[in-house]
Amino acid sequence: MTKQVFLTGLLALGTAVALPAAETINAAGATFPGPIYQKWFEEYHKAHPDVQINYQAIGSGGGIRQLTEGTVDFGASDMPMTDEQIKDVVTKRHFKPLHFPTVLGGIVPTYNVAGVNTELKFSGETLAGIFLGDITKWNDAAIKKDNPGVNLPNEDITVAHRSDSSGTSFVFTDYLSKVSPKWKSKVGANTSVNWPVGLGGKGNEGVAGLVKQTPNSIGYVELIYAVQNKMGYGSVKNAAGNFVKADFNTVTEAAAGAAQNMPDDFRVSITSAAGKNAYPISTFTWLLIPDKIENAAKKKAITEFLKWMMAAGQGDAQGLSYAPLPKTVVSKEEKQVALIK
């Protein structure tokens, strides 16, 4: 009996291996745009049944690493690759990774303060002070100055941050580095930093859970996460001096300023962007596409997808709380598609 079971199992395995593989393209990278990428690849597959793009959100750094090792066909990242990382890919894989911005997103400060039901306003220095551990109580003078008339309790602030490395942390710390020289020198910007104070939650849900459950706490999450979970979040003071709440319009405006001076390789940070109503903690997110794809079928599929993404795909953005790309960026990107050989 066991012999028969064993042989059947081997046969099944054999067939599994022998079946011809459909045109599957594997990609991995950032979790931040994960939801919209999943929707895009699903829609695209419905429109083009012979193309399967399997995207897995393992993190921006993960996407860069897998692209460098050649285990995926393309990657995705919330942060632009550094020159060193690009050189690494060129050396190991003999192609240059091209950055294609896909959508825009925002990161919001979310909080849970006893007795406060109105929206709180945060200036950059205040946020930096809280996350540095310099501002320790909710009724600190700095917070009170930003929020006149709000009854803030005399309670300790519990800070929540990400424990896992993430593009979200990178953008948030990038913003803090721009508005606070002390943050820049003491902590710096990276996917993973040495947080001076606070509890680490794993992923957005870890931070959100921490904030929800811990009284008098504050954390940072992606806009989409706050919206989907109906969490309250505050507004942030931008470079122009206005307190701006993150939404479709304010995030788009942050990109509009950058669109004017977009570098050719699209690697740009738009935190603390100029603009009257620009939301200061905004970011592009990029697909990292090789500029040389040997497999003709894969190349066709990827280039067709990119064109679709820049046109029809942008329509999905708002529904999932992302902002679509400004038109000037799109037209510049279309030229970059031609660079893929």
Binding site: L19, Q38, T71, I224, L320
Partner: protein, 282 residues
Amino acid sequence: MDRIARRNLLNNIMLSLTGVCTFLTVSVLFVILGFLVWNGIGSVDWNFFTKLPLAPGELGGGMANAIVGSGVVILIAVVIGVPVGFLGGIYLAEFGGKTVPMMIRYTADLLNGVPSIVIGIFAWTILVVPMRHFSAWAGGFALSLMMVPIGLRATEQFLRGVPNSLREGSLALGASKTRTILSVIVPAAKQGILTGLILGVARVAGETAPLLFTSLNNQFWATSANEPTATLPVMIFTHAISPYEDWHRQAWAAGLVLLALVLVANLAARWVLSRGVAAQRG
């Protein structure tokens, strides 16, 4: 109170305490099961077993590919891990001397204690990177590394449990050692070995970390074992950490299904074992 009464009182107190300990430890399982059922039972529907996962916000998706994928990955793990555990256990129990078996046992225990994430990273380094793609093979290999120590231990333990009289009888009849092992000792220890192997499967069925960098995950059906494959533990992980309420419910449902499958495997192991024991007595 005289000494005897005091000792009797202590007796009663301590024995009741042990009962309390048992109650506390066993009740944890019921809490877990209850929680999963409460939160996940609503999402365990026909769609769950037949449809592919859908993007967040779209209803009617399922985890059919993850259920099959888990099956494929575990099958690969079994094909690799069971022979190694079984034959290795035979070596340790029947053939080995003193030092070599001790070394092998020690390293097997070490392997047992390695964090699952390190095993995943190891499998990534030696399989995924050279092959240049994620695959169910790599995932199965990583899981087999975690299965082998359990199978090895169980096989050796139950083979050693077979009375020497059986061995000596067979050898006295002129059978070679190999024939003795194949026809006499292994059948006698068959049930115990099977239990060990099934427990090994149960343990790896729920492991997530080794699969994250090896079989990755897949929104679609994987058409061969050479592609990234969806599995239940990884699906649970990605759905549970997402922002979406219906994905959370699906995660609980997947957890319930996974646990149910493991429960069935465990029950099967116990049933086979008890039948075997009864048959031996009779």
